[in-house]
């Protein structure tokens, strides 16, 4: 399971790295040479690490099957990603076998991170790289195969790196990421730790002497719309603990939590993709140097 997590981490961020490095290579004088150099390094490292298992096809396949257990099914429990949420309407597991589902999830994931990948190849930049990390890991979380709730930490990492540029995004995202793991935390009886860690986060976010909320003019209508899921989520915290779900739907509250988190995640990923594309089109600020 631990090795699976490391593989996940490298997979989730791979498109961002690939896109950024490819974009940087294309900017140099002789792009083909740069790409070949990069390709050699990557393949060489890969070969070095996988050396013991490359002697036969079966051995390599065994490693891969251990690393990516596809038999478990496309989703498990109530993760706030696309397949799990839409499974309420479309019963994926009943309609399709594993192979088509694998293809569907792969293509959906690729489609989802494609915009940010293209943006980085076109115009790589450090800030754009961070956005690209966020977007590619988010796309994997939302659309990939057999995602665990804990994987939300992977998009959360670049979001934290972007915290100074996007404070509202970061706070919003962290709250809903924690909320999406709430059933897991209750099961592990870590409720007290959840409360204190969430409390500490809110206190750090609203520390005295910081300026927050300035610079972003949100109309009161938008605020009302945004705070509705927030209120629902706060209510759900207590409801989940205290009230027994009805017999017909024993996982009703898990599903509700999943819905709310998924809706917020979709909004967030659309927003970050938009921001990444806007990096290209922002007018150059007055006074910056032109180097020819």
């Amino acid at each position: 399971m631990g090795i699976f997590d490391i593989l996940q981490m490298s997979m989730y961020f791979a498109p961002a790295f690939f896109g950024h490095l490819l974009g940087k290579c294309l900017k140099r004088k002789y792009p083909i040479v740069e790409i070949m150099k990069l390709g050699f390094v990557v393949l060489g490292t890969f070969a070095l690490v996988w050396w013991p298992y490359l002697h036969s096809y079966e051995a390599a396949m065994q490693v891969i099957s251990r690393l990516a257990p596809f038999e478990r099914g496309i989703y498990e429990d109530y993760v706030a990603n696309f397949w799990c949420t839409t499974s309420v309407l479309i019963k994926w597991k009943r309609l399709y076998a594993i192979k088509p589902l694998k293809l569907m999830s792969l293509s959906a994931t690729i489609l989802a991170f494609l915009p940010s990948f293209i943006q980085q190849v076109k115009s790589p930049s450090n800030l754009g790289f961070l956005y690209s990390l966020l977007n590619s890991s988010f796309s994997f979380y939302l659309f990939s195969y057999q995602v665990h709730e804990k994987s939300i930490l992977l998009p959360l990492l670049p979001a934290s790196l972007l915290a100074l540029h996007e404070p509202h995004l970061h706070g919003w995202f962290t709250y809903y990421a924690l909320f999406s793991m709430y059933p897991l935390i209750c099961r592990d009886q870590l409720l007290l730790q959840y409360i204190s860690v969430l409390g500490l986060f809110v206190l750090i976010y609203y520390s005295p002497g910081g300026n927050y909320g300035k610079g972003m003019k949100i109309s009161s209508g938008t605020m009302a719309v945004l705070s509705l899921p927030l209120l629902c989520s706060i209510l759900l915290h207590t409801v989940y603990l205290q009230i027994e779900p009805p017999k017909r739907y024993p996982f009703l509250f898990d599903a509700l939590i999943m819905f709310i988190c998924f809706s917020q995640f979709i909004i967030l990923t659309l927003y970050t993709n938009y921001k990444q594309w806007m990096l290209d089109f922002h007018p150059r600020p007055v006074g910056s140097k032109k180097d020819l």
Binding site: Q193, L200, P208, G210, H282
Partner: protein
Amino acid sequence: LDPRLTAHRPQRAQTTPHPVRPLQISNWTTAPMAATSSPSTAAAAMWAFAAAACVKLLLVPTYRSTDFDVHRYWLALTHALPARQWYTDASSEWTLDYPPFFAYFSRLLSLPAPFVDASLVDIPVPAAPPSSAYILYLRLTVAFSDLLLLASILLLARDARRRQRPFLALLLVLWSPALLIVDHIHFQYNGFLMGLLLLSLHFLEQGKDLAGGVVFAALLCSKHLFLVAAPVYFVYLFRHYCCGRGLARGLGRLVLMGAGVVAVFAMAFAPFVYYGQMQQLLSRLFPFGRGLFHAYWAPNFWVFYIVLDKILAFLLRRLGFSIEIPEASFTRGLVGDSSPFSVLPKVTPITTFLLVILAMTPCLVKAFANPQSKHIIRWVAYACSCGFMFGWHVHEKASLHFTIPLALIAMDSLDDVRHYFLLSIVSCYSLFPLLFEDQEYPIKVLLLLTYGALMWVGFSSHFAANPAPGGEKLDASDNIVEKKLTGWISLGYLLGMFAIEFWSRLFHHHVYGDRLPFLPLMIVSVYCGIGMMYSWIWQLSWIIRHT
């Protein structure tokens, strides 16, 4: 020129990134005269208390000492039995040995208990280990009683000269690692008691002597350990409140103050006088039969006395004199005429009492001669440190009693800052042996290191922003010599603490195996004792020179 290079050059990011300013530590240290840019100190103090409360929640499942069982028993005792039986009940070995106000406080805390878990208030206390609801309830009572500390801190945000105290001074109390370790891990109610002490100090600083005296009497009725500060209070109140207004008014005020104090004591002790239990109560409050030390030596003066005794015994034995190894031990009480010391004269409770009074005398003389309210915190802290240094059966937790008040005045001058930096680290480190389980090790080390880092950054930025007037030294090229937070000796001393910690954790086991298990503790005691002695001498010299 390749057009791609100019067309696709990466643009700068958005022009108005509205970044969040990181925590503005320099705002915490300036004493804002007009608090326009920085938030109000009250709001900031409440924020700090909330952050500390989150950490206290995280500390709920940590190690609990026998003090937890003590307070659990007292909670049940005060709830289930009538007051008549509080000091006579013997169903548990942890008999009630605090004065009646603390018993009333325990009763107050036990009121919601039956709604949480009915077994919380059973007498006799069930022998089974407590359930998690039980533990959570008791831990929450400690966190709740810290509200009194917050209230006192909010009141103390203005000092004696009607100026705002720097926020960092308040933060040093609210986030004190010693308080967290003793109260929220080891389990005691010191936050509540220190809140009472600070409240009384606030009243005295603001000139409301009657209120200060009454609150101090209430504190005495909650924990009689604070009797060491009583002489200072008495002298100060006598001179400041009663004297200098003519004989008639002075006498009237004396009677008034006396009446107030007696009223408080009456509220506490009257029921027990009525039941005729005063003898029993006093024997519970002042148990004789305890030794000079308890199992772990507090870092006070007597540590050096013992070490000197042992060294002398060793040397004299080498020189051929016959010195018997004493049978009595330091931890058990006085048995007849036997003394646990081999060479030096034995120490009795009376001796320690006289020494404490002797050590306090310069302070009392100064308070008598010139009773100014701006020095009262310093005098009371000094009295508590005398009690710590020379008292009988002192526990190292008692160092909290003078470290917390000193935090409030730590930022008055650079010397104060240096002294407090050293003192707080030494007193927190001396509390480490209280948490001997491995799982608390990272917690206590991180608490101390974070606090040290907070002090370092806070003090440095404070003195960068407000250089002390008239104190700058100029070196050869007329540049102001930067004031250092620690001198070389202090730095060496603090690094020595690291060395001792390494030794006791890593090397002692390798070198000695299982022999001499008490040696690391002894070394820690002696080493911290050096720091404490320095602090006591420094406080004494400051009081003699400046008050």
